[in-house]
Symmetry: C2
DNA sequence: CGAGCGGTTGAGGCATGTCAAGAGTTGTGG
DNA sequence: CCACAACTCTTGACATGCCTCAACCGCTCG
């Protein structure tokens, strides 16, 4: 365990309230690993042996079935993923693949499960974390079922702007291909939708997003706290897709 | 609190491991309420004051946005719902509406939150419950994004048969109208899809489902543990839609 | 009985996916 | 440094999945 990574992890909601000795113990049994770009760290269906913490880089979580696949989430530093699988000692539901060179801290799942039986503050943190994650996925499911693809794209573009502090312009944090998959559509369809949205108050040129008419875009999106709203603990900066931990 | 409801609640995974005195204390602050059919017990956005436990009847959880709505889950006895909202002391993400005359036990959320700080076994149970719920929603999201509507219908029909013990015939537990919404499609489309599936190994006549060619249907569905598989604790019988607790 | 509702069916239209081609970019190896 | 391969992104043409609207049937329930 590299000592310089400790404080960043310690500051996560998941770990900040637990006893220092217990935290140190968890870290002592953990280790750091760096993966090259495009590597499949986890294959869905594998047994969940480690809680993963992204320290640098980024990780894509994808669901696969019958030869198809779709992006479920992108995890940015510093945050954890696949907590739920570790807790249930069950197979991963998603495949994890690095989007770039990525440094990961691996915490043994068995130690994790033992720890929240001993440290009440940690147990409470896990409860809050899981509840937040759950609500994030429910929001995501509502987004999928209640909005069509145009509305999903528009709301994504507006939300990213809001998360960045209400800026009128920003660059997309991920490739459009991946974004399309995340939003549940084909790259071709995303491309056409982006062009069509120029009349909706937002223009996208390459990876550059420019809000040309915020009022019009907002009216189109009809942002809603119970879909777009924040439940996620603000551990990581809002520069990516909403985090989710399988 | 009606005493005859106690044992059923006590047997839920969520409550079975906690100290008897603590369970009794929770129940003492709870109360029972019976709602008529079609009543909106919870409106999405309301503050989450009570954990709900369905004792008799059934409850539909729906997401709403911009005048549209869709069914997210149906909760059958005996199980809980909206645990996550209670824990985070946050607004409900879904509206809850009775599908029939329904008896509900209401547990004050504040008592719940206080209790898992005192009772470690309860905290562990909450953790397991939330992790299971999380995985259920992730499966549901994968189902939505990776399968088209025909595949979702076919997999639903097959799964219900499996949950009922591999029976070749059963009756739909919910109205088709509701099922369509749950599966993310219109009633008309569901109706047409059901007819088209007669060549796929399953016939639906009214509410009666008959698996005419299990092998063919299974080949069509390609059931997958990481989408259809069980993570849900087998608290309630498998006669409904997968449970989910907001 | 008549209203209301769930379910079905048909016609038509829009949204989205598929296939194909080409421009631009990036990365690699000679 | 250049050539080439591989990849993303875009655009067009086309096919199809799914929704919308409308009508109708059958059932339930006042």
């Amino acid at each position: 365990m590299r000592p310089d990574t400790d404080p960043q992890i310690r500051h996560l909601h998941l770990f900040r309230d637990m006893a220092q000795a217990n935290f140190a113990e968890l870290m002592a049994s953990s280790y750091v690993q760096t993966f090259p770009q495009g590597l499949e760290m986890i294959r869905q269906g594998d047994p969940a042996d480690f809680l993963h913490i992204v320290m640098e880089g980024s990780v894509e979580l994808v669901g696969q079935w019958a030869g198809r696949e779709c992006t479920m989430a992108v995890v940015l530093p510093v945050s954890t993923f696949i907590l739920a699988a570790c807790i249930r000692d069950a197979p991963y539901l998603m495949t994890a693949r690095t989007l770039e060179r990525t440094r990961i801290v691996l915490v043994p799942a068995s130690d994790l499960r033992a720890m929240f039986r001993r440290d009440t503050e940690f147990a409470v943190a896990v409860i809050n974390e899981l509840a937040a994650c759950y609500r994030t996925v429910v929001r995501s499911a509502k987004n999928l079922k209640l909005r069509n693809s145009r509305e999903r794209v528009a709301s994504y573009l507006l939300r990213q702007s809001v998360l960045a502090g209400g800026v009128p312009s920003y660059t997309l944090p991920v490739e459009k291909r991946l974004l399309a998959s995340y939003l549940g559509m084909t790259p071709e369809n995303l491309s056409r939708t982006l062009k069509a949205l120029e009349s909706g108050g937002v223009k996208v040129d390459g990876a550059r997003v420019i809000i040309t008419d915020r009022a019009k875009l907002t009216a189109l999106v009809k942002p809603h706290q119970l879909i777009d709203g924040p439940d996620a603990v603000a551990d990581n900066s809002g520069s990516g897709l909403p985090r989710t931990r399988g």
